[in-house]
Symmetry: C2
Subunit: 306 residues, 2 copies
């Protein structure tokens, strides 16, 4: 069986693409993966989905999934292990070597924030530990926050947090910041941002409900100290989920999918949307918007094939 | 008083920009105009807002407006009559010459579909009369539909509707189609699309609840005929709302705002989002997504000014 459209991924980009594709009678198959729903599944309340003051991230994703199902999207819960985009129809194989074929593909596999892997990180995920200052910054007005990292994202997060609080500490593993000079200067000039160099977080502690402090370790002296905080923003990079697409479509030096003309990858008929091609905005609503664009572009591509 | 950010327009793009800008502490002023809410205010039920199976367009916009207000957006209900983007801060004047100043601007004034102006058009708006096949096409499965127009949008709408029904009639005022050759061929080759040339609709009739027929007039013979139909898709172009920006920022030949690097206009500090810069997707979710991008871009622009 050759599908008209297969969508890989089931976050806001993949599900919105599915909703639009189903309404355009493309009978999309959504390969949602073994952990469906994307990054919002690991969040608590979100307050920036337009029109909804406050909703649990997993609830929003459940609504989108139900919407996609009602409209006739099919779902497969496997992960894709490899693809062949060099011949048509395009071919995809799951980890168990189940083969799928499609005339058009939308990649919406997202990106995964790099994590510390230290004790407490998972326990307090969404309870003070977060990877998105734009999303969660407003929750920490006049609170103590730690930004972990020293690159552009960490510098932007620190700068962004100065709107809300003057109790900001950056914790960076190196002995100098690594982001752009402009951003470095903005952070270094700001008296409300304290920077602890050559250190990392080895433990995130809390009261059971929320983060209360972290244990820092100096990388040279191995000395350990504790620091009270209300939030830990982990800003040590993201990995776009593009391993299986290497050699098949053009990626940039960080592994993000290169797009032209909004949603088109380097292979005609293969489109992409969401964080897998976006390191700049990374919001549910931007991913949903671009997911819609990818579906409409795929629809036009398929109409031209007929 | 100099505002950090003024947003002109209050459809999905403007309000989502407001929601994100308010959360980033930019205290945005939204100039919502005398007819707030954008094109969705003229719709009935919509079924393609991700996560919501079915909602009245005006209700969705009311939720977004409430969300923006809760987060601290200010609203002004005037229309802007002229702007000066040549000096900083940027200046805007209402029709009554009230002046506003801002360090950054997001233009989200939308586009207005060209209408016929014939009897019945307003009465049956959202009750069979529509301007968006992608939005409303699925409502007319196996129904009779008329597409008014002969350019690319009309051809795309006709082609799109073949997914749902084989009772499609195009009504075009000229004696030949005017869209791209590829699209023309696709439509002309399709036996399910009938084309009536040199004609227009002079009356839209219904049973009080919904469209039932139209009166056509041949432009040469002036002969009038009636044609039964369940829907009239008006596809005779859109006017982006950019009159007041002429000479201030770069527009394309059709009057749409030219964007680079996602949301940037030709004037640094002036951003745009939604249908005012998008003739291709024109969906609430795409406008909302780009509205968010514009707010994040404006936030970064303002942070760099400090």
């Amino acid at each position: 069986m050759i599908h008209k459209l297969i969508i890989i991924g089931s976050g806001p980009a993949g599900l919105t693409a599915g909703i639009y594709a189903a309404r355009a009678e493309l009978q999309p198959l959504i390969i949602e993966g073994k952990k469906p729903g994307g990054q919002l599944m690991g969040t608590s309340y979100i307050e920036n989905w337009p029109g909804v003051s406050r909703i649990l991230g997993p609830d929003l994703m459940m609504h989108m999934q139900e919407h996609a199902k009602e409209l006739g999207c099919s779902f497969v819960s496997s992960n894709i292990a490899r693809v062949d985009f060099s011949t048509k129809p395009f071919k995809l194989w799951t980890q168990r070597e189940q083969e799928y074929q499609a005339q058009a593909i939308i990649i919406a596999t997202g990106a995964t924030p790099n994590l510390l892997g230290c004790p407490g990180e998972q326990q307090y995920w969404g309870k003070g530990v977060t990877t998105c200052a734009v999303c969660d910054g407003a929750l920490y007005k006049d609170k103590r926050v730690i930004i972990l990292g020293g690159g552009d994202t960490a510098l932007e997060d620190a700068s962004f947090m100065t709107k809300f609080t003057n109790k900001i500490t950056m914790v960076h593993i190196k002995d100098e910041l690594t982001g752009s000079k402009v951003m470095q200067k903005r952070v270094l000039d700001n008296p409300n941002i304290n920077i602890i160099y050559q250190s990392t977080i080895i433990n995130i502690n809390g009261d059971g409900n929320h983060v209360t402090e972290v244990t820092l370790q100096n990388q040279q002296t191995k000395e350990e100290t504790t620091l009270e905080t209300d939030a830990v923003f982990i800003a040590i990079g993201l990995r776009p989920q593009t391993e299986i697409f290497k050699g098949q479509i053009a990626l940039d030096q960080w592994g993000y999918i290169k797009l032209t003309d909004q949603t088109k990858t380097s292979v005609p008929g293969v489109f992409a949307a969401g964080d897998v091609a976006d390191f700049r905005y990374r919001q549910a609503i931007t991913s949903a918007g671009v997911g819609c664009m990818a579906a409409l572009d795929a629809e036009r591509y398929l109409a031209a094939l007929e």
